[in-house]
Symmetry: C2
């Protein structure tokens, strides 16, 4: 981030010395992502002069790199005509995203100021629910007719270049806007100028439906190494594309959501450093309180064996160790499965094979950890204690790993998000199971001075 | 994955009926990623006939989508000349990866069969350690001279197209191979044919050093929405590019590694469904056993207060609940920070601000959870018990969240991987702290029949 700081101080110096021309030159020559990073770091009132120094095209591009709150601050000051000019200049997908951030009154003033084509495009793109492919696609893709020659197609793409997000892939549509093939600019450049698009194009391209989750489009782009994936509506008409850079953003966003879910933090729009404290509290408190009540079961499990504990208080020494071991092993298994399902490494039909593998690995881990704890048991409480803790360890570790491995599959089967099988939830289940197994074995093996516990 | 199954059964039917021409046609018309997925699902001996049906170009492309073990099975059967032909056809980066998978004797037979240029390229690319940018870059990038006109540059790119990974971005180098600018094919196509490259090119492009971690290249591609990022050596000479599709693979791989680290699973090359059971065991057992011994401290914490426990055995009821709460809150904080640091949302200098935020949120969470547990305490053990568990809850939750938040920063500061601050480790620290705090408060507040515990 030192680059950001450099650019920021350079700009500040030019502004302080009123070298406006040089400041203009510098800001407009840098990558919009860099300028966006500088502006995002500043309080809005200090960012305004910088933003206003950008030309219209760069303003429209820098906006896309700002956080929602900064986007809003920048455009809120504009009158409807300035706003409409900026909107017209923006990429279709960025424009749709910004439109949805605007307060309703601004949306209403803006709409009539836009040209009809842009208005319709905006309404179409904003009609898809958040999280779907439709909500992230752009309508600015290049098309060529199948009867054109390569030379004519290049000329056609040349005229489209400024309005389209990419001209490296052109789409060939029939009269119903059904996608019949794709042709790459590199294919056109390499081809003989008289070759026809219909002979050059790739038929049956990979496509995604606009109603599918956004992760599906990102995964296709990743799996097939695409520059962009074409998006179809329910009637198989082409309605947009998702480009590689947006796919990469989606992939990062989805990974972040899964990370947060792994620790039972709810889905937040915006990074942890930007969201309000209220949102952060809300996204975290729900499962924490739920787990407080869930853990009453762990307490109840212990309470059932209070007699055993009073008779052999040394048992409590091993309690955190044994339940942590079950929980840690279970968390490993759950994390491995959740991620493998998310990346497509493991699918539902692998269930039986994965279970067999987990039993082998879980047993091996359990035995290793039992050997480790047996030594401690011998030292703290003699051979009987060593036997109790070691046999408990094997069983709880195996149980923990099977629970951790199965839960994501089960959730997936029930059409729920496998990522809900988070470490804390698996740990909780492993805790309860671990406590019951431990004291059951202990009360069976150890002699009790009073009557056996119930 | 149903697409994979369809293609597989279609092919199988054609093979069974000896329609070899149609099978050839079908396999060679599908995307190499699809064919690769089919082959990867089959046992090697069943995959050979399919692989052999592919033409040389498709073989070279499909290979890149196979798992390392399948790659090796496919090429192991080839004699040195067939192997050299295949290697020559492959992309430079895929070729270098495969070369490193080969057993030493195959490497030695292959080398002399390759042309000098390929041999040198292979040695250069394989000289960078795994995990660095150099190890994932490709040397097949397109270059144009700055004095060319746009028309001449397009013609130049046309002749390079077949050998280069992309011609959409061309690099302009000076006589020392220093990068002076980049020009896009779309820029060249849109420009006037007589415009010169030096006037069209973007100067000062974003670059990455070949020795940096691979995630740096992936992050630059993501941040600047690049098709490819140019890679420089220590003398600032250009040595390769990392393309958007490889950057996306790196991003996914890095996220998977961080997921696994979050549950203390070591870095594995290959998915959880593919690695051997032995590797899986090795990657999991290390931290599990370490945490068994670490948790002796939790046990020791409890053992210090055995008198208190015997006098008030009801305290044990709340033990799992309180330490789980501290651990869960800490795991949330750690996960949020680890991911925020990985994505660049939070940097070192945000430390103080993030600490202040964490204190507010941690206190709010602690108070909420204290209210929840106070009710349970009142029900199980009266007002004194309610006071003990509620005040413990506030302190341990706040402590857990501060530990979870600070540890990733601390590790980063010490130039260690922040992702090492995994849920199990944070939970362990929170456990020990929680036990000590709980019994300290309990022994201070509750009356003990015997002398106070030590």
């Amino acid at each position: 981030m030192s680059e950001t700081t450099d650019l920021q101080s350079e700009i500040q110096e030019l502004l302080d010395n009123s070298h406006m021309d040089q400041a203009f030159e510098l800001l407009n020559s840098r990558h919009p992502a860099e300028v966006g990073a500088v502006i995002d770091e500043l309080e809005p009132e200090h960012a305004f002069p910088l933003f206003d120094l950008l030309d219209l095209k760069n303003q429209s591009r820098v906006l896309a790199y700002l956080s929602p709150s900064h986007q809003l601050s920048m455009v809120r000051r504009l009158d409807r005509h300035a706003l409409a000019r900026l909107f017209t200049e923006m990429n279709a997908d960025d424009r749709a995203d910004l439109y949805q951030e605007l307060p309703e009154d601004m949306q209403e003033t803006l709409m009539p100021a836009l040209a009809k084509a842009e208005r319709e495009d905006l309404l179409r793109l904003t009609s898809y629910p958040e999280g779907t492919v439709g909500a992230i696609m752009t309508s600015e893709y290049a098309t060529v007719a199948s009867h054109l020659t390569a030379r004519q197609a290049i000329e056609k793409l040349r005229t489209q270049a400024l309005d389209k997000e990419t001209i490296y892939i052109a789409y060939v549509l029939d009269s119903d806007r059904n996608l019949v093939g794709t042709v790459s600019l590199s294919g056109l450049v390499v081809a003989n100028g008289d070759d026809r698009v219909e002979d050059l194009m790739q038929r049956d391209p990979v496509t995604v439906n606009a109603d599918e989750p956004q992760s599906v489009a990102a995964q296709k782009v990743a799996d097939y190494d695409l520059l962009a994936v074409p998006i179809l509506d329910d009637h198989n008409a082409m309605v947009g594309i998702v480009t590689h850079d947006d796919a990469m953003d989606v992939q990062e966003e989805e990974a972040t959501e899964d990370f947060h879910k792994s620790a039972n933090v709810g889905v937040m729009s915006g990074g942890v450093s930007q969201v309000t404290l209220r949102i952060l509290y809300q996204k975290r408190v729900y499962w924490l309180v739920l787990l407080v009540f869930a853990n009453v079961f762990s307490g109840a499990g212990i309470a059932m064996y209070e007699d055993v504990i009073v008779a052999h208080v040394g048992l409590v020494f091993f309690l955190p160790l044994l339940i942590a071991s079950a929980g840690n092993t279970g968390a490993q298994s759950a994390t491995l499965m959740v991620r493998a399902i998310a990346t497509g490494d493991v699918v539902m039909k692998d269930w039986a094979r994965m279970l067999a593998r987990e039993i082998s690995v879980g047993a091996a881990l359990g035995i290793t950890m039992a050997i480790a704890v047996a030594g401690i048991g011998l030292w703290r409480g003699g051979p009987e204690m060593a036997f109790v803790v070691a046999s408990t360890m094997v069983i709880v570790v195996l149980a923990g790993s099977l629970i951790g491995m199965s839960l994501p599959f089960l959730l997936n089967r029930l059409n729920m998000d496998p990522a809900t099988a988070s470490a804390p939830i698996v740990t909780f289940i492993a805790d309860v199971a671990g406590i019951l197994i431990y004291f059951a074995i202990a009360s069976a093996v150890l002699t009790l001075p009073t009557a056996a516990a119930g």
